[in-house]
């Protein structure tokens, strides 16, 4: 339904730039790399290390996956467009379906469009910093697949994930970064 529709707005000249605050946050990460004038659409990419050290992201266990999902090259190096996309999806105003789509991509560690058992195990270990025993991890992942897998293929597809996340009362308030 959604397809991989990333939206990028044309940036008007700097005097009417409505996204100035986000732009300055992006520029502050590396002032020497990012020019002030973006009318020429320069090809500037900030490396993942700079993105991952932002105060909003540095304590998040999934920051690497977030950067990878929103970056063009899939490695976490982000252009301004990627940066804006990331914070708009994670903002208060983004619609639920959009957030669910990107959440699915973030938790899909091996990028195979399915949340298989190993993806779930990695998610759980990142969430608990490896504090649970192997048996407990296995039990939780089995239960998750049990609960959410509708087509009984032993892994969660996007439909399964959306069907479940739509019923979560906390999803919108936790999948949210304010910048």
């Amino acid at each position: 339904m959604l397809g991989h529709k990333r939206f990028s707005c044309n940036h008007p000249s700097s005097t009417f730039f409505p996204l100035s605050r986000l732009f300055y946050r992006y520029r502050d990460l590396a002032p020497q790399l990012v020019p002030l004038d973006y009318t020429g659409q320069p090809d500037v990419r900030l490396p993942y290390e700079l993105i991952g050290s932002m105060p909003e992201l540095k304590d998040n266990p999934f920051r690497q996956r977030i950067a990878e999902v929103f970056s063009e090259d899939g490695e976490g190096n982000m252009t301004l467009d990627d940066f804006l996309d990331m914070f708009s999806v994670l903002s208060e105003m983004a619609p639920r379906d959009l957030k669910a789509y990107y959440a699915f991509k973030i938790y899909d560690f091996n990028n195979d469009d399915f949340l298989c058992k190993s993806d779930l195990e990695k998610t759980l270990n990142k969430l608990t910093r490896n504090e649970l025993t192997e048996e407990e991890v296995r039990m939780v992942c089995d239960k998750v697949i049990d609960e959410a897998d509708l087509d009984n293929d032993g892994r969660l597809s996007l439909e399964d994930f959306q069907h479940m996340i739509v019923r979560a009362p906390d999803f919108l308030s936790t999948f949210h970064i304010r910048i």
């Binding site: 409505p18 605050r21 998040n60 903002s91 983004a94 969430l127 910093r129 649970l132 239960k143 936790t174």
Partner: protein
């Protein structure tokens, strides 16, 4: 803010794209565009729309700030959240209960302080003016001694802290404040308010329904995908969040494992019956031991005090302390036979220790009533002696000076003959008990938890086996012991507040210091339970016990108010036949028709009919609530059926 306009633009553009694919009809497109045109800076009504939007945003921000402020005003919220993330919701439930008790006690303190203590201090007679407000001459030599003060004697005893200080003048000060009436009403009102608050809390908790585990369809999925809060930007908060997520998973795993256990029903039932039988034997044995020891001490009291050993003098205290130390771990060991879910096991443990502590209460009240009766006897003899000597004085004066106009005796207040004032004695006993309780709790924590942790940590370097993993290792937080301690302490406060207005103030100090001390002790010296379990959502079990203790502590006070005669020379009811005579006197002063109304209202016939009506109302409400519950269940079943139907449909479609 600029980026919001951007987001609105982007979501607008996105939706337009979406519309093209899914084909909203034209009508809806048009109304949508018209609605949001104003926000995009085109079309009419732009200014008004922009103003409305700005006001709405300001309102949202104001609401958010106000909510933040209200949350920041709740005391100890962060502390409790920290304990909860590391130790689970069951340990945190004790601290939440402690905080709720603090709120209750603050209100009680407000009543007592504002309506009884403050008027007496501001408008009553000062210290030293009348006999009841002065330390007797005989005791003045050591009234300031530290040991005497610690025992609440000396200047402590003749102060606003205790019943005996208050004067019985019907009205005091410029505002004609009726202190004795206020004292009685506050004494009874404390119970009334507590009762109301406890029952309201129980009713509110029962609304949230369920007892512990959530019966959601997607428990683990929600935990996995929605428990991390992406707004966290602070390493300490992140640490707490990691701990709380882990604990939450462990709690759900425990619940899940309970569901998956295989049952050998007969063996389990037999073991449970056996465990209950053993525990009943223990309780019976301890009850008999307490009764025997109390009897012994009564006999010993009649003998000569010098012939008794220390043990014989303190038999009761020693036996009670030993029982309190030995029985709870014994009950816990026997309870392992039962293999209950930890939450259920906690309730059983609470109930059993409660039964044990009732024995404690019985001995204390027994000793107290003995002392009170003794004081009453003493008072009678002093009263007789004083009246006789006054008669003698009048007779001598009139015969010596040959007049019948005898001036009143002019004696300094400190030299006047005093009655024993049994109410102050009772108040002092309650104060001493509370202080004792505080000391014992804190010392137990310091030795049992802190010293143990220090020893395990530092002796581990030079010990043959691993102290941390094996015996004795670090202590776990004893939820049942602490909750019961809190409940019984509150029972003592309720009983003693009538005789000692200062007791509620002491309790407030105790609760505040307890909160800080125990939070520190838990974080520094305890480890989480092996099987972390979720506290029951309703918390009604603690409230139920509290209600029971409230009734138990109400009975002695009401009995005393109704039947025992107040001391003749101390306290706000001195000189009257019974304490409640104050109310009758006040009624006499009011206009007669009110007196008539009260007279009719207290007619036994009327009261009996009212009681009958209330019983019928309770029966009716009970039946209605059962009907609602049934209707609820039916609806839930229907919803489940609809859900399953949808599930099956979706499955067949895929």
């Amino acid at each position: 803010m600029p980026h919001r306009d951007f987001l609105l633009q982007c979501s607008f553009l996105f939706l337009m794209g979406h519309l093209l694919f899914t084909g909203w009809n034209c009508r809806e497109c048009q109304t949508f565009v018209e609605k949001f045109e104003g926000a995009l800076g085109k079309g009419k009504g732009r200014k008004l729309y922009a103003y409305k939007v700005m006001m709405a945003k300001k309102m949202i921000k104001f609401n958010r700030d106000f909510e933040n402020f209200k949350t920041a005003c709740i005391p100890w919220e962060r502390k409790i959240k920290e304990v909860e993330s590391h130790f689970g919701s069951s340990v945190a439930s004790y601290f939440l209960f402690l905080r709720w008790m603090f709120g209750l006690n603050m209100v009680l303190f407000g009543f007592m302080f504002g309506l009884v203590v403050l008027p007496e201090v501001l408008m009553g007679l000062p210290y030293g003016s009348i006999p009841r407000k002065v330390v007797p001459r005989a005791e003045q030599a050591n009234a300031m001694d530290y040991s005497v003060l610690l025992d609440f004697g000396g200047y402590c005893q003749y102060s606003i802290l205790f019943y005996g200080y208050y004067n019985d003048a019907r009205t005091i000060g410029v505002f004609k404040f009726r202190l004795p009436l206020s004292y009685l009403l506050v004494g009874v009102g404390i119970f009334g308010y507590s009762l109301m608050v406890v029952i309201r809390m129980m009713a509110r908790n029962s609304n949230e329904g369920g007892d512990g585990g959530d019966e959601g369809q997607f428990t683990f999925s929600f935990k996995m995908f929605t428990s991390w809060d992406y707004l966290i930007g602070n390493p300490e908060t992140a640490d707490n969040k990691f701990a709380s997520v882990t604990t939450s998973f462990k709690e759900s795993i425990v619940d899940e494992q309970e569901n998956q256990k295989d049952e050998n029903i007969h063996l389990r039932r037999f073991l449970r019956v056996l465990a209950n039988f053993l525990i009943l034997c223990c309780l019976g044995g301890s009850g008999f031991l307490i009764y025997y020891v109390v009897k012994q001490s009564q006999d010993n009291a009649k003998k000569d005090q010098d012939e008794l050993t220390w043990f014989q003098k303190n038999e009761v205290d020693v036996v009670m302390s030993l029982l309190g130390l030995v029985c709870p771990p014994l009950f816990e060991t026997i309870a392992e036979l039962e293999e209950y879910h930890p939450r259920v096991a906690l309730k059983w443990q609470l109930g059993r220790i409660f039964a044990l502590f009732l024995g404690n209460l019985y001995t204390f009240l027994f000793a107290l009533f003995d002392e009170v009766n003794e004081k009453l006897e003493e008072e009678k003899s002093i009263k007789n002696a004083t009246m006789w000597s006054l008669k003698e004085y009048y007779a001598n004066y009139s015969s010596y000076h040959n007049t019948t106009d005898v001036p009143p005796l002019d004696i300094a207040p400190a030299d006047v003959v005093r009655g024993p004032c049994w109410e102050t004695t009772v108040g002092v006993e309650f104060m001493k008990l509370t202080v004792n309780d505080i000391e014992v709790t804190y010392i137990t924590i310091l030795i049992g938890d802190f010293l143990r942790a220090v020893i395990v940590r530092f002796l581990n370097y030079c010990w043959c086996w691993d102290l941390e993993a094996g015996f004795p290792s670090y202590g776990e937080f004893d939820i049942s012991g602490n909750v019961l301690g809190l409940i019984f302490n509150q029972g003592m406060i309720w009983m003693g507040a009538f005789f000692s207005p200062g007791l509620v103030g002491l309790n407030i100090l105790r609760l505040i210091s307890s909160m800080y001390f125990q939070c520190w002790a838990v974080m520094a010296t305890n480890v989480p339970h092996e099987r972390v379990f979720k506290a029951s959502k309703s918390n009604n079990f603690y409230m139920g016990l509290l209600l029971l203790v409230l009734f138990l502590s109400l009975l002695p006070v009401i009995y005393i108010i109704m039947t025992m005669p107040p001391s003749f020379d101390c306290g706000p009811f001195s000189g009257r036949e019974k304490m409640y005579d104050v109310i009758l006197e006040t009624l006499e002063e009011l206009p007669t028709f009110i007196g008539n109304i009260v007279g009719y209202a207290t007619n036994p016939g009327l009261i009996l009919s009212a009681v009958l009506l209330m019983v019928l109302a309770i029966y009716y409400l009970n039946v209605t609530s059962k009907n609602y519950e049934n209707a609820n269940l039916e609806l839930r079943k229907k919803m489940q059926m609809v859900n399953d139907y949808e599930h099956v449909n979706k499955h067949s479609q895929l």
